[in-house]
């Protein structure tokens, strides 16, 4: 029970070798089996996520959501999948067929690649990469590529403009995300997700760098392309952007990929800042970590959905202004402050360390809010036609 995956692997390996299969080949075969199992778990979870999404949006909008098919509407996603499968699979006139079909596949693949580095428990993970944080950014880059491919190959101006906006969004918000990803790397000394989870056994990183968690949440929502940053797929804005020419299961792949991506980012937030698989009783029974991991990932996903169904959409120029003029300097100042405070407080015991870092975060947050208030005051004075300041400036 201490190491279920390792024991299963050894048992199957012994079985295969006793049949006469070569050691290296059985290693590869068992790795393939492990990959298939992990991807199956992710995709079955994805189906469940469709149901959760529809129920939660309904409750936020003060209605019930699907409740006809099965108890609490739990078989609704299966009806959705059957509908998508039997729809006509159109390819627009003049579209580039190979790229058109490749784009949704790459989009879902870039999300499934992320599941290789998630530590679901201390003994249940795909691979313990020592550059896992950079690997996450790389998988995001492949997702960005799939958006351009979808927008360009549709032979449709709305799709292309939607794809341009989405890519501008994604590559802009990668910068604060990467800067914030450096912060758990500083606090832990390693870029491996497993090491980051392991070093949160005493206290969660959200107590030490809450501002970083907030900025990561915002840039993660922007990276996902979810509301309030969903200029590319707002039906009222751009006729669902780069999705427009995709029908049937190809659209299903995009949609499922987006939901799974949102859940995976909820999992990242929980691993990087909320302790990952840590919880009471995990040191005695490591498999309990799976339970804690999924609960925390669901809470992170719920927060992302909460933001989506509460705030209205942000305009594209406001979105880029917010990133380049506020989030980038803010995240760099958080990074510098965290590095300095971590180095100067690292000799002391834990309560002094946590208290000192938390105080530094609060001071930085207060200074930022004061700067923003001064800016807002100045902007309000400029916009006010009765103001004496404007009269002085324009004469």
């Amino acid at each position: 029970m201490q190491d279920p995956i390792g024991n299963l692997y050894n048992w199957l390996m012994g079985w295969l070798v006793s049949w006469g299969v070569d050691q290296a080949i059985s290693n590869i075969l068992l790795s393939l089996v492990g990959i298939v199992i992990l991807v199956t778990i992710a995709m079955v979870l994805d189906v469940f996520l469709v149901w959760i999404e529809r129920k939660v949006v309904a409750r936020f909008q003060d209605r019930l959501g699907p409740n006809r098919i099965g108890p609490w509407g739990i078989f609704q996603p299966f009806a959705d999948i059957i509908k998508l499968l039997i729809k006509e699979d159109t390819t627009p006139n003049g579209a580039d067929v190979f790229v058109f079909n490749l784009a949704p596949i790459l989009s879902l693949a870039s999300v499934l690649l992320l599941w290789a580095v998630l530590p679901i428990a201390e003994v249940v993970f795909g691979v313990d990469l020592n550059v896992a944080l950079l690997y996450i950014v790389a998988a995001g880059a492949i997702g960005t590529l799939s958006v351009i491919m979808a927008g360009w190959s549709s032979n449709n101006k709305f799709a292309l403009v939607g794809a341009y906006r989405m890519v501008a969004n994604m590559i802009s918000y990668e910068i604060p995300m990467v800067v914030i990803l450096l912060i758990p790397a500083i606090l832990t000394g390693s870029m491996s997700m497993l090491t980051i989870s392991q070093s949160q056994e005493q206290y969660w990183f959200v107590l030490v760098v809450p501002l970083a968690a907030l900025v990561f949440l915002i840039s993660a929502i922007a990276e996902l392309g979810r509301s309030p940053f969903d200029l590319n797929e707002g039906e009222s804005e751009i006729v669902s952007g780069f999705h427009i020419e995709y029908s049937g299961m190809k659209f299903g792949l995009f949609y499922a990929g987006e939901l799974l991506h949102a859940f995976t980012f909820g999992a990242f937030i929980s691993i990087l800042f909320f302790g990952g698989y840590n919880g009471p009783g995990v040191t005695q029974m490591p498999v309990l970590g799976v339970f804690y991991f999924f609960i925390k990932a669901m809470i992170g996903y719920w927060i992302i959905m909460w933001v989506k169904y509460t705030v209205p959409r942000i305009r594209i120029d406001h979105m880029l202004y917010f990133n380049w003029k506020f989030l980038v300097p803010f995240s760099i100042s958080i990074l510098v402050m965290t590095a300095v405070m971590h180095k100067s407080l690292s000799g002391y015991e834990t309560p002094v360390y946590v208290g000192g870092m938390l105080a530094a975060n609060l001071v930085l947050g207060w200074i930022t809010i004061e700067i923003l208030r001064a800016q807002a005051r100045k902007q309000r004075k400029m916009d006010d036609p009765n103001s004496r300041v404007v009269a002085e400036l324009t004469h």
Partner: protein
């Protein structure tokens, strides 16, 4: 034939075929996509040689930034995206001869290198990432070139902002 050799041959085949397709395809966006396949193959070779950090940085920088910039440049500067030009110009035979000459001289130069016939010595679980970090930050290693490179990047950034803002003021 070890597994390493098989993976290397597959990755090399992908790289070479994609590189040939970059020049042989008529559609420019397709050429950019084949370039992405080539760069991905190079990342696989980095991973095989146990430079995991370089493999991931290759994907992030080359595919995630440079290739996307290529695609945007193609999309924003062509009048019509489906245009296809003639495949070769009149001096194509000269380019072919030059290619063969350069290939032969590269093989000749590399054949005098010690590692030409050896399989690379892979150390297993070497902590190359810590070594890389230390070599960039120790004054006895490469700290000075690292700082000079960051100053160069800052100069490029300031120059780009100046050129862009200057043009905006001229338009006004």
């Amino acid at each position: 034939m070890t597994a390493l050799q098989i993976i290397f041959l597959l990755a090399a085949a992908v790289i070479l075929i994609s590189a040939v397709m970059v020049t042989a395809t008529r559609n420019m966006v397709h050429a950019a996509l084949w370039l992405i396949a080539t760069l991905f193959g190079v990342a696989v070779i980095f991973a095989v040689l146990e430079a995991g950090f370089l493999a991931v940085v290759q994907v992030v920088v080359y595919i995630g930034a440079i290739a996307i910039m290529f695609i945007f440049a193609v999309m924003l500067t062509r009048r019509e995206m489906l245009d296809k030009g003639p495949q070769m110009n009149k001096r194509a035979w000269l380019a072919g001869i030059l290619c063969v000459v350069i290939f032969a001289s590269l093989i000749y130069m590399l054949s005098s290198w010690v590692g030409f016939n050896q399989i690379p010595l892979l150390v297993g679980n070497a902590d190359t990432l810590t070594l890389l970090g230390q070599s960039l930050l120790l004054p006895s290693a490469y700290l000075l070139p690292f700082e000079v490179a960051s100053v160069l990047l800052l100069a490029a950034l300031v120059g780009a902002v100046y050129v862009a803002s200057n043009r905006k003021q001229e338009e006004k």
